[in-house]
């Protein structure tokens, strides 16, 4: 009988211990795993944002150089031939407003297109694309994602990169 009592209390202690261990393990998982994943995910997010910025940058740079090319073709034709005709060149781009939960802005500095995250975003990424254009390029104070218009309205004016939701609209001078 005493042996049964001893066995029963011992079993109770073991069970309690088991629950305590399980609880501790679960608590540890709750405490550690999210932070591990948060770190890993932030690293992955950094990579994704960088890759997306590069992709956006290459597309916008291609559009800028396409407009510059049309400007130069028109300019060289008119300079060599003294003929009439106007120039309008526009490329409309539909870009994501954010990539991997990160909002961004693009601007022109030192003949380069720079794409960087806006302040307060989860990651800090900047991608720079050198531009090889004859005329100057401007993006004002910075252009975000969404519908972007790259345009030139005459043969020698600066190429402008602006936000524009009126895709297909007549370029404004």
């Amino acid at each position: 009988m005493r042996q049964d009592t001893h066995s029963s209390s011992s079993r109770g202690a073991v069970t309690t211990l088991e629950y305590a261990v399980t609880f501790t393990v679960a608590l540890s998982l709750l405490a550690v795993i999210p932070s591990i994943f948060a770190t890993e995910t932030q690293s992955a997010q950094q990579d994704v944002v960088e890759a997306e910025f590069e992709r956006i940058g290459s597309d916008v740079a291609a559009a800028i150089e396409a407009v510059d090319y049309q400007q130069q073709r028109h300019q060289s034709t008119k300079a060599a031939s003294n003929v009439g005709g106007e120039l309008h060149a526009s490329v409309f781009l539909d870009m994501p407003t954010r990539v991997a939960e990160t909002r961004y802005t693009m601007y022109i500095s030192n003949e380069s297109l720079i794409i960087t995250n806006r302040p307060g975003q989860p990651v800090d990424v900047t991608v720079t694309y050198p531009l090889d254009t004859t005329n100057t390029v401007t993006a004002g104070g910075g252009t975000g994602g969404g519908t972007i218009r790259v345009t030139a309205t005459d043969a020698t004016s600066p190429i402008r990169v602006t936000s524009d939701r009126s895709t297909g609209a007549e370029p404004q001078s």
């Binding site: 998982l29 740079a61 034709t77 060149a89 994501p96 990539v99």
Partner: protein, 330 residues
């Protein structure tokens, strides 16, 4: 037989631990999925597109169509009057622009155009002179000694094509006796181009101290017709990569030739050169096969607008038969 209590407790402990581990794995998986889902970009940007090519393809197609229309007007032997040819060119350009616009009516791409003025004269059509010898004839006299100026003081030349038979073999003909065309630039620089056949029947263009053999063995045999474009440097459509004549060719002449027979087409910018004034040396043969010089359309400036899904371009192009016309300033 009932297992002892200690065994039961151990088993239960193992079950609890396994359950805890499984729950842990499940928790980890759910956490991972949640993070990945929240970090996926809403829209992925497309890769870079060649936007210039997108518009230029359309402009090029329009240019080809307009060039064909101008060529057809130039080769229309029924037109003998300058005014009539100019009017025919205007009509042909308008019709071509209309048909090109209509052909894209239901697509995402639109094309339109309008003629613009050449500012010094206010004209919408740039006139020129075309020298054409349509019937095959000797391109120099039988002695091979009479040189022939096909065009002199032509301002600039957009097309020089000779379709010849009887090119001599380079192996048996001295360089001074080979069929020779001399292209003279506006600064007086000359570009000497010789054409002769090789032992395998190909054609060699020798130019500017170097040369290029083109053709497929057994196809361009000696005696067969060889079409040489002296502006682009092609023989039967096959090109010589380093061929580069002067940008503005004012004079075109043939030297020697040794009984090379063929036809000639030259389109030059020289205005008001209808008749023999453009051809200072008469052709070497009878009047029936002599080349005829006549008024032609050299080039037309057009303001073209192309809209594609992502681009919109309006710019001026100059179209004309042959090489894309270089500057049209006087």
């Amino acid at each position: 037989m009932t297992p002892p209590d200690s065994t039961v407790q151990r088993s239960r402990g193992q079950v609890v631990l396994v359950t805890a581990v499984l729950l842990g794995i499940l928790f980890i998986s759910l956490t991972a999925i949640a993070y990945e889902a929240s970090s996926t970009a809403d829209i992925r940007a497309e890769g870079p597109t060649n936007y210039a090519a997108e518009s230029d393809t359309q402009i090029q197609e329009l240019g080809y169509a307009l060039t064909t229309a101008i060529h057809n007007v130039n080769t229309d032997t029924g037109i003998t009057d300058v005014g009539a040819r100019t009017q025919a060119a205007d009509n042909a350009i308008t019709d071509t622009l209309t048909s090109q616009q209509a052909s894209r009516e239901f697509g995402l791409t639109t094309v339109s155009g309008t003629q613009v003025e050449y500012n010094p004269t206010g004209e919408t059509v740039i006139e020129g002179t075309r020298v054409a010898q349509t019937e095959p004839a000797l391109l120099t006299d039988s002695s091979g000694g009479a040189n022939w100026d096909i065009i002199r003081n032509g301002g600039q030349t957009g097309k020089v094509t000779i379709r010849a038979t009887g090119l001599t073999s380079g192996a048996t003909t001295s360089p001074s006796d080979r069929f020779t065309v001399i292209l003279t630039g506006d600064t007086g620089d000359t570009y000497t181009v010789q054409a002769y056949t090789t032992g395998s029947g190909n054609t060699t263009l020798s130019y500017d101290g170097t040369g290029c053999t083109v053709g497929r063995s057994g196809v361009d045999r000696n005696g067969s017709v060889v079409t040489i474009d002296y502006i682009t440097g092609t023989v039967n459509g096959l090109s010589c990569p380093e061929y580069e004549p002067p940008q503005q060719i004012t004079d075109v002449s043939i030297e020697n030739g040794d009984q090379v027979e063929g036809t000639v087409t030259v389109l030059s910018r020289a205005e008001n050169a209808q008749g023999p004034s453009i051809q200072q040396t008469q052709g070497p043969n009878s009047s029936t096969t002599d080349p005829q010089a006549h008024h032609a359309i050299y080039a037309v400036p057009v303001e073209v607008t192309v809209t594609t899904e992502q681009t919109r371009v309006t710019r001026t192009i100059i179209v004309g038969p042959g090489r894309s016309p270089y500057g049209l300033n006087p």
